[in-house]
Homo-oligomer: 407 residues x 2
């Protein structure tokens, strides 16, 4: 299944356009682009995966409702305001923005999906956003630079726009798939959230799109963690407009599509972690030999979210004691005497005990001083396995998250 | 039930002695006291509560076994080495230290309990500890200053020794109860753990002692959290030697004893949080109106362990958005539209939305700038309630936990 990396982000697939504008949603700082529309020239099937937080922002509630039909034509995205914890007025405001987008594009309101990111608990400034929607609609273009502008407009604490796209050949047919994303969990002073929009010109039945998006999300975006906080607005949307005339029906086609979607999501997930606020390292964490996959994930999350483990990594300390401790309180089966922990394949602990002399420890410290390294914990209990991408915890992270009032 | 605060810590109760020495267990830094024995002149009933971490240090395994009899006469404590993740050699070393203590005091080995705190994964330096045990035994005294010396010897990252003691009158009878503690979870660079020893001269049947210690621990030490990490060595021990001739048998006596034990544990728990490494604030967190007590605790822990909530507190930000977000992912029942959040009784959010104007927000910021304040979250769903003591998350915390290699 040849996958070729191509430029263009959300505009890489045929029949997709994006338009961006700056309407001044953020309360402070210089005027930056903060509103964009991604639209399909043709009807499209659509699926979404949303935050599991019981506190769901208005745009999440609205997009989920609009996705019940399994179809959508446009996504409106804004940064600077999350429209979360805004009650009934917030939901009405979200509806108004969807209506305005539909009017501007000549669509039905329920063909419009919405993503918001930014401060929680503040009503949307509709007087700024509604005129902005018209401007973004007027700016719709299919160029790669328009896609990059859209990817930039959803940045909050992100330092770089995050895009990925591939062209996929299946025999004599081909399709394109691309996407953009922002933010790494709730890591930013602005309550940044994870948003992702993926577009494809393959023709994908809704039921399969929903299934594969759920599976791929659980293996990519749900396997990254910066601070363990799950936001009110996390959203991954996929639109498939069939403009390539390549249909995804057979097992081979489905496999190719799943792999391509996985490639885009994995790129974006890694970009999110690498750009995590105040982080200085990306750690590939593998838990294997767990009694079950669910146990492997529990242990992986406990380690990846342990403040002490993350602080040790920030200090180039290949600490295995804090890792085994976190594994021990994860709520999963574990036999301390069987645990192995390795940094980049070099064992730091075996049978639950340290196993390196001074020379070996120096070697481990060199690994932990790198910007990227792999940590593997093998429980020797079963076949459960989990792969997570995570970061360290730095003083810079704390500094950046001290207060929202300074923004 | 008149409770009178008295000096003396673990030596406050009649018939208890403590002895301390410095035997150089720590690998670096100036020689500091690091070993102590707390002993009863008379046979005593005893109970313990231990870490729930599946990775349990050797002293935890040994003390649990020795407590099966419901009796104990002495506790050996050391700092500088946790004797955790040390396998069978570690357990044998723990047994040797218990044996040596028993020989020095003329007891059976299974009358000796052990507590260790310090670095994980390093074998106990028995050549230093065994002679130290003899010295500590020779130094046994009943004075308040001996108790303070013992409380100091278990300090790792603690900045002050932590002691509490009360005299309790029940009608014409009375008893004394006192204790010492160290560390706040795994918050220190040395993998500090929570250790607590409580002594009383009341005569308390083992079954009741176990029951009441479990209940009080769940309301005090298990309701504090600094970083959410649960150590391999956490231990709370209680010895009751009956030297006051006051027996705890009737409902009135049991109530009085429970209250006194609660008072000592609450004092020590608060002292631990207030001395949390790199923390600048103590927050009294109350969750009420939850569907169940277990739900209230889940939500309380999610809030108290949220990096983002704790960073906001460090920045004097009375953030309610991050609090409601953490509540939303706690895995407990919650209706976002019913949530109320208050700082020192002043509502910051009502019906899941912010409810203060600029003047009100300024008032909330003043509260969040204090060294101690109360945060209450009311879910309006039921009668479940939880009370936690927690701290903020500062850059200093990260700095202190960057590496164990620098120590």
């Amino acid at each position: 299944m040849p996958l070729k990396r191509i430029p263009g982000g959300v505009n890489a697939a045929k029949g997709f356009l994006s338009g961006t504008t700056a309407c001044g949603i953020k309360r402070t700082g210089p005027l930056r682009s903060d509103l964009s529309i991604v639209a399909s020239e043709f009807p499209a099937t659509a699926a979404g995966v949303f935050t599991t937080n019981l506190v769901k922002a208005a745009p999440v509630l609205l997009s989920r409702r609009h996705l019940e039909s399994g179809k959508a034509r446009a996504v409106l995205l804004n940064s600077g305001n999350a429209n979360a914890c805004t009650g009934a007025p917030g939901l009405r405001a979200a509806e108004q923005t969807a209506n305005s987008t539909a009017v501007a594009l000549g669509l039905h309101a329920d063909e419009v999906l919405i993503c918001s990111t930014g401060r929680i608990g503040v009503q949307l400034p509709l007087a700024k956003i509604l005129p902005g929607i018209r401007k973004a609609a007027d700016a719709l273009k299919s160029s790669p630079s328009a896609a990059t502008a859209a990817a930039k407009s959803i940045m909050t604490s992100d330092s770089v726009p995050k895009q990925s796209a591939y062209e996929v050949k299946i025999g004599t047919k081909s399709f394109r798939i691309g996407g953009m994303a922002k933010g790494a969990g709730m890591i930013s002073p602005n309550m940044a959230t994870m948003l992702c929009v993926i577009t494809t010109d393959a023709s994908v039945p809704t039921a399969f799109l929903r299934k594969v998006l759920g599976e791929v999300t659980s293996r990519t975006f749900n396997c990254i963690t910066v601070d363990g906080d799950c936001s009110t607005n996390d959203t991954v949307l996929t639109l498939a407009n069939g403009a390539s005339k390549t249909a995804i029906r057979t097992a081979v086609e489905k496999k190719a599509f799943a792999e391509a979607l996985q490639a885009v999501c994995a790129d974006l997930a890694r970009a999110i972690v690498a750009d995590g606020e105040g982080t200085s390292r990306v750690i590939e964490l593998t838990v294997k030999g767990a009694k079950s996959e669910s146990d492997a994930h529990k242990i992986g999350r406990a380690i990846a979210n342990s403040q002490l483990v993350k602080c040790a990594w920030a200090g180039s300390d290949p600490n295995w004691g804090r890792i085994i401790d976190a594994a021990g309180y994860a709520g999963a089966a574990l036999d301390p005497d069987k645990v192995e922990i390795a940094y980049d394949g070099i064992l730091a602990a075996k049978n639950g005990m340290g196993c390196q002399d001074a020379k070996g420890e120096a070697r481990l410290r060199k690994i932990a001083a790198k910007k990227e390294f792999a940590v593997t914990i093998d429980l020797h209990l079963g076949k459960g396995e989990a792969h997570l991408l995570t970061t360290d915890l730095t003083e810079e992270y704390v500094r950046l998250n001290l207060s929202e009032f300074s923004l």
